[in-house]
Subunit: 371 residues, 2 copies
């Protein structure tokens, strides 16, 4: 079993990766959270697929197990859903106590919701992450960010609350729709651009195997990316410094997600990773225009994103609609607009002086045909 | 100005007490939370009385100030109200950023709600407490407990989030209804019983002046009690040990509050302190029955509570209704029922072995006429 420590002093925990791990969640949880009762939080997609296996494992490890469910999808990542989950948890028998452990079983939405539930249940109980999407495996399950959305923006309500363990079973990716796989791959490309140019080579080489769902290849991809995420989080748990680098592609990406994500027709919805891919293309365009990133590097990243079935162009984005959303982004401090820009592949910097005109030019760039 | 430090290392802050402090909240806040914007959270009772003074002070200290309000009363301390406050905060101009500061202006409900709002706004912003009731002055504003109620129990949803300052203006007590003053005095008696027998003498001596609203006397009472609360919190921020002593009177008190508080007719509602007074009388009865507290000490505490217009008797409490609520109390760990019992005046201990029969006997005791 691969075990990657997230070195956060008293809040240290391990990310464990192994095919078939779903059937060992009980024992692994018992090792980090002795308790009478466990509460599985899962959604209407993942619950029917995996909840019974996780429940059986928790039962055999001696927990009394309750389940709290919610309808799948980012539109349900709200304070109202959190309230409905609390109703289920408090109606459970036995009721939760301060030793109880919450088990987040699902993708990023589930991890964010269950994490915030754990952060605020009886003023904070322990939780473990059992991610079932590539995006959650390599990004959202590690680092302790929890939260729900508000009509004013994504993740505006939340807390930093670290899990006591993250248990990743790459076998769960076998049931993941290809569009969700692509969404997760976008965050892997992001990790490569901000920290690890060699990972960019590796993804380029293994793109066909990754898209074919090769389990060993996906396992290695997850481990490589968790190591990067864990190192960034360990260096800056509360996002006061370098953790901001993880927001590469997210300033414009979040704004695009706010206006173009969550379409009534799921086939036309952009997933989080798709918006980040567009955001990375736009940020790279700004960096190229500033003369701080060679055009060839930006083109290489775009080519890889395209190979991974991720978008790099998007027409008809309205700066008048996007700029106010970007100013509202919680990464904005005291009214300034902040961007993460590459200085070369594998290295980024945070700049606070990107002008509206540069953003407009980047959105124009996204509307152009690929060259 | 009296300044009492709450020694919590990197989360250290001062409690400042002085008549007229409301007009200096801006400068005091500026000293601990440089920011562009401040968000006053207050209720429909306190807002009309004091919000304009606090707003003027914050404006003159250079903040852009927004106000978020909610209907007064414990029944509104819910996740739904928190959502309505978030709606107001995110609609404000300028919108909040991570440097923004939340100003809790009001009693315990306001402090708990505003504190949880601050704990979860953009994953945590700073907040200051400006309490306006005796209960909030001496108890809820100090220590970082925040939260909302759930139909299953009080404060079941919340977080530990320390304020960066607590600014107490004893002048606000001039507008406090006497029933609310009595409610706060119950927590003062609690502090005396758990930590400071000399304070019990002091309250006995000064009871008439306190009930008459003597400002100097109330100022000294607040300072004495904040010192006790601050010392307990500093020793055990997250309630893993001695902070549990503050729950003296609260095990049965919370259960009584759940069944007898919040009546439709406010005249017949028991305030928090009234329930704690009953809880202390019941806990003392258990301690006397166990032979660990002299009857005379219990009688002395009851006599003082009665002098302070607090109840020590309550008929028709149904153990079948109260016991399940006590088992659900979040201080319960792994199914055990926990009590704080005095071993002598000024000293308490935590016991985990109180039986249902002892609780039933204590409730019977509450139903007897005073002797």
């Amino acid at each position: 079993m691969t075990a990657i420590p997230v070195s956060l002093g008293p809040r240290r925990y391990d990310v464990r990766i192994q095919p078939g791990l779903l059937d060992h969640v009980g024992g692994l949880t018992r090792a980090v959270a002795a308790a009478r009762s466990a509460f599985i939080v899962t959604d209407s997609h993942v619950g029917p697929l995996y909840a019974s296996r996780v429940r059986a494992s928790l039962l055999s490890a001696g927990y009394e197990v309750s389940l709290a469910g919610f309808p799948a999808g980012e539109p349900h990542k709200t304070l109202a859903t959190l309230g409905a989950l609390f109703d289920q948890v408090f109606a459970a028998s036995p009721p939760p106590d301060r030793d109880s452990v919450v088990v987040a079983l699902g993708g990023g939405v589930t991890g964010d919701l269950a994490g915030l539930l754990a952060a605020t249940l009886l003023r904070g109980v322990r939780f473990v992450q059992v991610p079932t999407t590539l995006l959650a495996d390599v990004d959202s399950s590690v680092g302790g960010k929890t939260g729900v959305d508000h009509p004013a923006g994504k993740n505006l309500i939340g807390a930093f609350h670290q899990p006591v363990g993250v248990f990743i079973d790459p076998g769960t990716l076998a049931t993941l729709p290809s569009v969700e796989l692509a969404s997760g791959l976008a965050e892997c490309v992001k990790h490569a651009v901000i920290r690890d140019a060699e990972l960019l080579d590796w993804i380029e080489t293994h793109a066909p195997a990754l898209q074919a769902g090769d389990p060993a290849c996906l396992g290695e991809l997850i481990a490589r990316n968790v190591r990067i995420k864990a190192a960034v989080v360990a260096a800056d748990e509360r996002e006061s410094g370098e953790r901001a680098h993880l927001n590469f592609g997210h300033t414009i990406g979040h704004a695009i997600e706010a206006v173009a994500g969550f379409q009534a027709d799921p086939a036309h919805s952009l997933r989080h990773g798709h918006c980040v891919a567009l955001g990375m293309a736009a940020a790279n365009a700004i960096a190229v225009a500033r003369g701080q990133l060679p055009h060839a590097d930006a083109a290489r990243v775009e080519a890889l994103l395209a190979r991974l079935d991720l978008p790099t162009r998007y027409a008809n984005l309205d700066p008048g609609q996007l700029l106010p959303i970007m100013r509202r982004d919680k990464k904005a401090r005291a009214g300034k607009l902040r961007f993460v820009l590459p200085v070369r592949l594998g290295t980024v910097e945070v700049v606070d002086d990107v002008t509206d005109a540069e953003v407009v030019a980047a959105l124009d760039y996204l509307a152009r045909p690929t060259t």
